[in-house]
């Protein structure tokens, strides 16, 4: 698939909750070809600091010609990106990487999302065909991080189970606690997960125990995002003796049983 490096324009930047922004970016070429689970590399500044572009998963294509990104402010790069205003320019490279397997009609899918990791799963849900039964398990630290996903029309259109670490919204506990209970009642055809590494490892273990197919979207510091620098690897279990896979081109979405979780 063709990749693009574009000087794009921000159409809208909305604060969904403290530090959590929704950016709609006009980039027709990428919007037309991005698939759920893929990411873009963003750079909203000139100059050398910060140096590298920031990899952000595409959260959807809400209107023709634009992509939706959910960006949480965590460091200098995301501070600059979330500080953009409508009309500002931003460099976008994409679409990059391999995305999720789309659930087929008649399948049941459990989404397991941790915080802003909800974004690429939202894109799956947006594209999901009729006849897929899905439950969206969403975990966050505290109530304010549940505002964005719960207010989102795509996610709130599904059955949603919320957990927070401090119990200020939904059940108190981790998203994996809720997922564990649900798996006891009914096993889905697949689990699709995105979130922090510890959560993904726990989801992978639950899926393996239940014998359910599971795909995880992995995170890594990233150089080029194009498979050229070999900077973003994760340890994998591969029958051919391969030790590492590239998050940017082999992933970011992997079968959970391909990842060597012991290595983390």
């Amino acid at each position: 698939m063709m990749k693009y490096f574009l000087k794009a324009k921000v159409r809208e930047n909305t604060v969904l909750s403290e530090g959590w922004h929704a950016l709609r970016i006009e980039c027709p070429e990428i919007a037309a070809s991005a698939s759920p689970g893929q990411f873009v590399q963003l750079r909203a500044w000139e100059g050398a600091s910060p140096l590298l572009a920031r990899p952000i998963g595409v959260a959807g294509v809400p209107a023709a010609g634009e992509i939706l990104l959910w960006v949480q402010r965590v460091g200098d790069g995301t501070r600059l990106i979330t500080g953009l205003k409508a009309g500002d320019a931003i460099s976008v490279t994409g679409p990059l990487g391999r995305g999720f397997t789309m659930p087929a009609a008649g399948e049941t899918v459990y989404f397991a999302a941790g915080c802003v990791g909800a974004a690429p799963l939202r894109f799956v849900a947006e594209r999901q065909q009729a006849g897929v039964k899905s439950i969206f398990f969403y975990g966050a630290g505290t109530q304010c991080d549940t505002v964005a996903p719960l207010a989102d029309p795509v996610i709130s259109g599904m059955e949603v189970v919320v957990t927070t670490d401090d119990g200020t919204c939904g059940e108190k506990g981790f998203v994996t606690d809720a997922l564990r209970s649900a798996l006891k009642n009914k096993k889905p055809d697949r689990i699709l997960a995105c979130g922090p590494m510890g959560m993904l490892r726990a989801v992978a273990a639950l899926a393996a125990e239940a014998g359910v197919k599971c795909e995880v979207s992995m995170e890594s510091h990233m150089g080029c995002g194009l498979g050229a620098c070999n900077g973003c690897v994760v340890s994998v279990k591969d029958g051919t003796g391969k030790k590492y896979a590239h998050v940017c081109t082999d992933g970011p979405v992997f079968d959970s049983d391909y990842i060597d979780w012991e290595a983390f």
């Binding site: 063709m2 140096l51 150089g223 194009l226 050229a228 620098c229 690897v233 030790k243």
Partner: protein, 305 residues
């Protein structure tokens, strides 16, 4: 066209312009072909090739630092045979110079790669990597003392008539000593600098961030250091020089050319802007045209005056 002559000679090779892309930052070329016509470049320097495949270092392999990037990739590559089978067919279609970066743990490793590729159409030259800071057996032992450097280059010279470029490490007391020895053994050109050894420590754990503990620093942070090394070598050596280290734009490239580089190589900037190298090709032409410079070669080493 502007009429500016951008061609430069590097050893036995004539490049259509002085802009190369550094090993390990441009894959095998194809990774960037969606973004621009890579035949516009003066040439491509491939990811390092070793005789056998190498998995590379454990993650994390990169850390961003102020205006810089620390990496410890560990020479991950598909190995010589897979390179010939899977990468060469594409490289052969290119209308630009293809320089293969060669690494190894022993003299024989380097000889094996150069001997195998010496007769391949589509390989125009070799960059001999004796300066990888991230692998114990990555050739650095040939890059830190003059005698092993000369012995290795002498062996490789007997294997090929193609251009031999020796990539120098800045992590030595005097890169010029290594260059002088390599020049005496038949090196055609030098590329410098490879990355500067560095590290980063995690504030929470107190341990090194990189899986390999130490890495090599690249990016704008090293540009003045790299520029000085290029300037210094160009005062001493008559061989061609490819200058690199933090080149981000046309102004950076011109600094290296004025310092004495015949050609320049864009590295970390490729990761930041996939079209950075093309922007510099176009920028150099515009720069020369605007100043009435007919031949970019006339700018080389002006800083010596």
């Amino acid at each position: 066209m502007s009429g500016v002559d951008l061609t430069v000679k590097i050893g036995r090779l004539t490049l259509k312009n002085p802009v190369l892309v550094s090993s390990g930052t441009f894959g095998y070329g194809r990774e960037f072909a969606d973004f621009f016509d890579i035949n516009r470049l003066g040439g491509i320097i491939t990811k390092a090739i070793t005789p056998q495949p190498r998995p590379g270092n454990p993650p994390p392999r990169t850390v961003e630092t102020p205006a810089g990037l620390l990496n410890a990739i560990g020479l991950e590559n598909c190995g010589l045979e897979a390179f010939v089978r899977e990468k060469m067919p594409y490289l052969k279609t290119l209308d630009t110079a293809v320089i293969v970066n060669v690494a190894g743990a022993s003299e024989q490793d380097y000889v094996d790669v150069v001997r195998r590729l010496a007769e391949e159409d589509g390989v125009d030259g070799f960059e001999i990597n004796i300066s990888c800071p991230n692998v114990k057996e990555g050739g650095i032992e040939f890059g830190t003392r003059p005698e092993p450097a000369a012995a290795l280059v002498g062996k490789l010279r007997r294997e090929t008539d193609k251009t031999l470029i020796v990539k120098l490490s800045p992590n030595v007391t005097d890169p010029c000593e290594i260059a002088e020895a390599a020049e005496g053994a038949g090196a055609d050109a030098f590329s410098l600098v490879n990355t500067f050894r560095g590290m980063a420590i995690n504030q929470e754990t107190g341990r090194p961030v990189l899986g390999n503990r130490i890495g090599g620093l690249s990016g704008p942070a090293i540009k003045p250091l790299a520029l000085y090394q290029v300037y210094r070598l160009s005062l001493k050596s008559t061989k061609s020089i490819i200058g690199m280290g933090g080149i981000f734009n046309t102004a950076d490239a011109m600094e290296f050319i004025y310092a004495g580089a015949d050609a320049i190589s864009v590295g970390t900037a490729n990761l930041v802007r996939p079209t950075a190298s093309l922007e510099i090709v176009e920028g150099l032409e515009a720069y020369c045209a605007a100043r009435g410079v007919g031949r970019i070669g006339d700018c080389v080493g002006r800083a010596h005056e």
